[in-house]
Amino acid sequence: MSEKTKSAFTDKKILSRALKDSFIKLSPRTQSQNPVMFLVYVSAVMTTLLWIAALFGIRDSSVGYTFSIAVILWFTVLFANFAEAIAEGRGKAQADSLRASKKDVEAYKIESAEKKESITAVPSSSLKKGDIVIVKAGEQIPADGEVIDGAASVDESAITGESAPVIRESGGDRSAVTGGTTVLSDWIVVKVTSEAGESFLDKMIAMVEGATRKKTPNEIALQIFLIALSIIFILVTMSLYTYSLFSAKLAGVENPTSVTTLIALLVCLAPTTIGALLSSIGIAGMSRLNQANVLAMSGRAIEAAGDVDVLMLDKTGTITLGNRQASAFVPVDGVSAEELADAAQLSSLADETPEGRSIVVLAKDRFGIRARSLSGKDVEFIPFTAKTRMSGVNYDGIEIRKGAADAVKEYVISNGGTYSRQCEETVRKIAEQGGTPLVVAKNNKILGVIHLKDIIKDGVKEKFADLRKMGIKTIMITGDNPLTAAAIAAEAGVDDFLAEATPEGKLKMIRDFQAGGHMVAMTGDGTNDAPALAQADVAVAMNSGTQAAKEAGNMVDLDSSPTKLIEIVRIGKQLLMTRGSLTTFSIANDVAKYFAIIPALFIGLYPGLQALNIMGLHSPQSAVLSAIIYNALIIVALIPLALKGVKYREVSSGKLLTQNLLIYGLGGIVTPFVCIKIIDVLLTVMGLV
């Protein structure tokens, strides 16, 4: 994953391996996997045999001509092999580097988390599910597992390519570790969850290498279409032979068509362009996903991503920046804003959370209150806990508290203070605007409320508008209350939201959408996301998430980035579009090929057919050769497009269709006319025909 920026073409190692593979793939068994190219393969063999027969005097047409056709057909096959090989190249290179990190290491097996002292060293490959091992600083984690004791910083760069270490600890949603990664500091006790050969790394190697690549349903459907077209063209050329015999007999002349030319016609007409590039497109799509640091468990999942029309996005990190910022001090009960800011700043001095820091910054910006150092014996900072939901400071007998409205209310009232209506009103207003109210109290007196605001990420609104144009509905998932959620949803421009989201709520929402015929995508990391992930059509599990989440999803995001979903949808659509566009291009090409070859075939029989030679090709032989050379070269010319995917914009389906039809449909009709003419001129100029 580290070589993100390098293109497969410029990487010499990939290129040379691809060249070698092009020849290895000539084995009939490999060829028979791809029916359309197998047809070309058989045609190449046949013309070669015809050439050999011609050498011995059994002539179908001239020796040189048959030889040329045979050579071009072999090149056509090689080009197709090369297209596939180069698409596989990047994955293979990546698999090699992954394999390097998958070496057998010594695992320190222990009986249980409590008995860390009785260590037995065993090879990592012998570990079974349920075994417990201890991994210390500097050691490689021997197998996938769940941390059951301890916490450590782990270098996961072998898998994610990200060099910054991550924390893995027992309990919670950061307990999953992957075999092949390295513990940098401290120690952890890991319960093994997968055996050798089935580990995440093994799966990853298989996926990037394409070893387990199965044809997706859509690929199969397209292939059926291509096979059917090929069968028709076989019938067209075969019947053309008897038609030609028949017509020649009627005209009382010799049969003008040779088997060699008919084979050339067949290969030209068969959808070889898309046939040659079909598997490259699939592999390249998978590879693009890998480059985005997403690992799909099947090719089917990528296609499903193209169909997704409901995106369930987590608010935090996707729609808003991960942290909230203080945006206003709203004093109540006649307190001045400055007094409130002063108290708020004091209570936040030791608060290292982004919210805490933003309060200090705001106090300085608004009221010029400088950071003070509160040092002394009687200063005591109260940290935030999930139980009290407040933090604060005690100094010089002054108690300042800030926290969730109801927590502070309870604290003040229980200490004999009052919680005014004005305060309650202010809290409600802030929540309505999508903010988080933070109530500040000093010595049991409420001073006011800090307005913590969710910061919507730049550009998300436009992004969602684009998605809407494409017919994709965005749903914001948040733990906020409905009031806050509604305000943020409106500001971010999402179509709908799920507030106070629970795992059951998410699952139900997905089921409801699916019942309405929608395809739903979501991301998740926690174990409690697993049911929803399993239900969603496209389920992206964060690599930082739990094992259960990873198993439930059909993709794993190694970067654990919540915005990835949008990119995945884009890649899925691009994959399908590339397939469709190149199919259209391939079939549209046939029009020009007919105009090149048909007059060439029958001009002897019916001179009037010269009128169909609208390209003005030099001679029948040059026409056939030009068409078939074009047919081979176009495969090479389109490899970069197959690898990169066609251009994609977020516009409505109608616009996309018009745009692609113009480029690949109309372009597919015009391009061969121009190219075949140019090749014909070149052949004539060089005196080859």
Partner: protein, 605 residues
């Protein structure tokens, strides 16, 4: 100019105006909804169910539906073959016609069971009254009904969600026959009789000719003959012709023509009562009957588009499909009309033939009836090859190369420009599935049509449905071209001779039934091979469509969003047309370039 175009517009307008309400009526009837006519027909419908012991609300799986369709047709095939082969021993044969040879019996049976009505026999001289009425007429009705029934199985499948059943074959057949085909044809037959078409049970009558004619021993009329009735001698330029026969009387065949002609037209059957079909003055005497018969040709196929839209609760979709068909028809009609009106360069050279249409029918009038002229003949030719009907009011063999090519091409496109009753529309829907497959991919979605995902299974069968016609035609004609004996069936040398062969198999491969008149198709090889092609292109698509229907019915419906490819807008109509033309053109460009195109270019250069 306007004067010339006006009749065409009128013909098309009549068709659309009548097709729309009929489509809605058929939709209601097939859903078992109440119509104004229900009180009349419903008792009959119920009586039929009682007799054949069918429960109207019991639906079938696609496999059961298919086996009913196949068994029903197979029974028809066997019965009809046997009927012909044994007609000499059976009653209803006053002319004492002999048994029909096995190969011709098979060909005729296959032809009528498949709704093709290819006629390798000469009607009056081969088949007994019993064979005609109990065999052919019955098949005219039921083969048409079968096509419509299969269409409705598919329409229902689009509506169903996660269902295993697609309707009841017997119920569909009964409703189509009782509510649609029988009453509609009753009305049309009455109109035809009013217009002068014969309808009686009298034997053929003998009438005197206005003036005698002389015929050579080979049966050809002797031109410029001077006939002396007293001495019974025939002289040409003063020379006495021996063996010449003088004919003074003519036999006028009669019979129940009007009733047969009605179903022949509306059921897209096409098998004429008389040998020359609707060019015969007693089958189609004047422009009034001509308009009725011509409109009847496309009436049900066009109406079914609207039925489709109504019954899938997406009228726009029905209109879109209709538009695709209609536009192709208009273009075909336009090309034929222009080609025939302007004739060939040779005909129009130095005013050899008047090609204006102001005072009298001009242009290429060879093989056309003067009472119909270019307009009604071209329109009929376009209609009859668009619909897989095959009845004619002019001889397609005599059309200009391009005019003749269009009639051929319309059949080669798989008879989806309205096409046969039912089968034209389901064929077109298979093309629509191909279209959404390609277009759907281009907008980055796995393909779906009317809320149903198109997956390998549907793709496999749809492709077979679309390609059955090209496969049938290419294989059939490809083999025939290699059989030396076929050369003897031709009436013309050169490219036109090849066109005759190609037309024959295109007609069989499109289940059309019309012919390039010159071709003698009654040989054992041609009878068998054409018969097999007709069966192939009829029943492979039926199996395919029912398999697709079964699969679609079992699927859930996908929601429609802005990301969904629209299948009702102009872009889709355009794409659908392109796909239909592309499949046709890619399959037949080489063949057409050896036939009509070669002929055309040799005319012009």
């Amino acid at each position: 100019m306007i004067k010339m175009v006006l009749p065409y517009i009128l013909y098309l307008a009549i068709l659309v105006i009548l097709a729309f309400p009929l489509g809605l009526y058929i939709g209601k009837v097939m859903n078992g909804e109440k119509t104004m006519l229900s009180p009349v027909f419903l008792p009959f419908e119920k009586a039929v169910y009682k007799i054949i012991k069918v429960k109207a609300d019991e639906e079938m799986s696609w496999k059961k539906y298919l086996s009913c369709t196949f068994l029903f047709s197979a029974a028809g095939l066997v019965f009809l073959t046997a009927l012909q082969m044994l007609q000499a021993y059976l009653p209803g044969n006053p002319q004492r016609l002999p048994n029909v040879p096995w190969d011709l019996s098979f060909n005729t049976a296959a032809s009528f069971v498949t709704n093709t009505n290819w006629q390798a026999y000469t009607g009056e001289a081969t088949l007994s009254y019993l064979t005609q009425s109990l065999g052919l007429t019955v098949q005219n009705f039921v083969s048409a009904a079968t096509g419509i029934a299969v269409l409705f199985a598919l329409i229902r499948a689009f509506n169903k969600v996660k269902s295993k059943v697609i309707g009841n074959f017997w119920v569909d057949m009964t409703r189509i026959l009782i509510h649609l085909l029988i009453p509609l044809n009753f009305v049309i037959a009455i109109c035809l009789v009013a217009g002068g078409v014969v309808q009686n049970f009298k034997p053929a009558e003998t009438v005197s000719l206005v003036e005698p004619i002389a015929v050579s021993s080979e049966g050809n009329i002797i031109e410029d003959a001077v006939i002396d009735m007293d001495t019974e001698t025939v002289t040409v330029n003063g020379e006495i012709i021996d063996n010449a026969e003088i004919v003074t009387e003519q036999i006028v065949p009669l019979g129940p023509a009007a009733s047969q002609i009605a179903i022949k037209q509306t059921g897209t059957n096409g098998g004429g009562y008389f040998g020359v079909n609707s060019a015969h003055p007693l089958e189609n005497p004047n422009n009034f009957t001509n308009i009725i018969e011509m409109t009847g040709l496309l009436l049900i196929p066009a109406a079914l588009c609207f039925t489709f839209g109504r019954n899938i609760r997406n009228k726009k979709q029905g209109t879109a499909i209709f538009m695709a068909m209609f536009l192709m028809l208009v273009v075909s009609l336009g090309v034929i009309a222009v080609s025939e009106q302007s004739a060939t360069p040779q005909l129009s050279q130095n005013g050899a033939v008047d090609i204006s249409a102001t005072m009298q029918p001009g242009g290429n009038m060879e093989g056309k009836e003067t009472r119909f002229g270019i307009t009604a003949s071209s329109t009929w030719a376009a209609y009859t090859t668009a619909a897989s009907n095959g009845s004619v009011n002019s001889m397609h063999d005599s059309y200009t190369p391009i005019g003749g090519m269009i009639t051929m091409l319309q059949m080669q496109l798989g008879e989806v420009i309205f096409g046969g009753v039912g089968c034209g529309l389901y064929g077109m829907l298979a093309f629509a599935i191909l279209t959404v497959f390609i277009a759907g991919l281009m907008v980055g979605r796995t393909p779906e049509f009317l809320g149903k995902k198109i997956e390998p299974y549907e793709m496999k069968w749809s492709v077979l449905v679309c390609l059955a016609t090209p496969i049938g035609i290419l294989v059939g004609s490809g083999i025939a071209a290699a059989v030396p004996a076929v050369l003897e069936s031709l009436n013309n040398p050169g490219a036109h001779g090849f066109s005759e062969l190609l037309y024959t198999y295109s007609s069989a491969g499109g289940n059309n039934g019309s012919a390039f008149a010159g071709f003698n198709a009654n040989t054992p090889f041609l009878n068998i091979s054409i018969g097999l092609v007709m069966l192939f292109v009829r029943f492979l698509p039926i199996a395919g469509i029912l398999a697709v229907a079964g699969s679609l019915a079992a699927k859930k419906k996908v929601a429609v969003t802005a990301g969904t490819l629209s299948t009702t807008n102009a872009m889709f109509v355009f794409l659908l047309i392109v796909i239909v033309l592309l499949v046709g053109a890619l399959s037949f460009f080489p063949a057409l370039s050896l036939g009509p195109l070669a002929e055309f270019f040799s005319c012009t250069f």
